[in-house]
Assembly symmetry: C2
């Protein structure tokens, strides 16, 4: 069983379908969860085999909660793979005439990512935020007339059987989200892998971060992402999350880590997995 961050028809649901068809794992049962905590707890307790959640978007940035929850879960819970999909917002409505649309409903993030389109084609329409895009599509499906439109994933339109009026109405066309499949496995090295680690540096030795990054650099390990999250102890104390282009079984990464692990005030390996392509 695989858990995903719902509701049904969310971009995470869409990312899960992309993963399933690519990995030829059709027929596996999937279940929607309301929060990231529930997904990670589900994997931890063995209730679900995997869970999938967004981890970063090319416009909005990182999803801090996933990182916070990963280091709070038990050590067996790690990132088993990544999935990257384009985010295409669709205008979803029963009407065939855009002039008939009097109201547009969507999550605030979708509304803000489509504001150019809305100003151009629906300048008079009332704009109303709802708790999720899929909820908006569901609401549209329950309305008898066509003067309301939702913004959301194509998949939500299919699920709730409402026509897509126009695809990809987001202002920024380069809009991608990276999702991670959380589980308890470690895929073998493929030669094109990523490793995610989390670490803290002693508060009184701020130069440690540079020492750490230098060590990876010396071993020619590319750092594809660095994100800092608060330690939740003291303002100004952080935990760093780093994605490295290597598998934990690769010798350069082993060597780099062995040189610096004693510098950390805290260290967690969060998974080695193939890069998405």
């Amino acid at each position: 069983m695989i858990g995903y961050l719902g509701p049904e028809g969310s971009f995470t649901h869409q990312a899960l379908n992309t993963f399933l068809s690519k990995s030829n794992q059709k027929g596996i049962e999937i279940v929607s969860f309301q929060t990231i905590t529930q997904i990670i707890d589900g994997v931890n307790s063995g209730k679900i085999k995997y869970g999938i959640t967004p981890i970063e978007n090319s416009i909005e940035g990182g999803v801090g909660e996933v990182l916070d929850q990963l280091i709070r879960a038990s050590q067996k819970v790690t990132i088993n793979t990544e999935v990257i999909i384009p985010i295409e917002h669709c205008l979803i409505t029963r009407t065939k005439k855009i002039t008939e649309v009097k109201k547009v409903i969507a999550h605030t993030q979708a509304l803000s990512q489509c504001q150019g389109y809305l100003k151009r084609y629906l300048p008079e329409a009332e704009i109303e935020p709802v708790t999720s895009n899929s909820t908006g599509v569901k609401m549209v499906s329950e309305m008898p007339n066509g003067n309301i439109a939702a913004i959301g994933p194509e998949m939500a339109a299919k699920i709730y059987n409402v026509p897509v009026f126009e695809k990809a109405i987001n202002d920024e066309k380069e809009n991608f989200t990276r999702f991670v499949l959380i589980g308890t496995e470690t895929p073998l090295p493929t030669g094109k892998d990523k490793t995610t680690i989390a670490f803290g540096v002693p508060y009184d030795k701020p130069g440690t971060l540079v020492t750490v990054l230098n060590s990876f650099s010396r071993e020619k390990i590319n750092l594809s992402r660095i994100e800092s999250r608060p330690s939740k102890k003291t303002l100004g104390e952080y935990i760093f999350f780093i994605d490295l282009e290597a598998h934990r079984d690769d010798s350069p990464l082993k060597k780099a880590l062995s040189e610096i692990v004693s510098e950390f005030s805290f260290y967690r390996w969060l998974g080695s997995y193939p890069r998405w392509k």
Copy 2:
């Protein structure tokens, strides 16, 4: 005129009052804004002299929108000072008996930061998220009876004239927020300053970040914070925001920057200002 992120009685309003009393600037007119964009646009157009917004919290992490907006504003708009205040959530209600409280309303973040208290003392109460803590306090003030409570800043209780039942009910007592005063001035060096900069590194030269950090390290400049935000162009391309413990007029910082500025694909100085104490 100083703009702050409202509504009235918000923690930002409280931070502004702390700043005004510390800097002896009483009597200056203050005005509430609804969004960070409005505050930064207001400073940019000269409509307000300063604006104050949160930039990071010791539990929730950074406020990405402030960073995104700062690099989109004109170059004259910078950070002029920082203000750090403890975040103390209060239980605000008309009743003197906690058993009479049937419903608790607050922003989801406040509800989540006080969940231990709520489970212990109000296990039966209905929990309802509202758009802001101050809105919740205002709602409580408008209810005739005492069976509803809000969670929020002490200041909101004063403004709406509702008694504080208990102070500091947040589970994590170490809860601080750092605010920045945005303006068009640069305070002179005090010997204990911070400088905030933003830069991009070329996508095809990932080692550049290490080169940059090494340059500061060589000049013995402490790095007190590093945050990455998406470039909004390509997934995996970031802009780094760094706080350094130096003023831009200090020679070591001048030297470090002169050595590395040619490595950046993008660079913006975002202010030099005294450290909060």
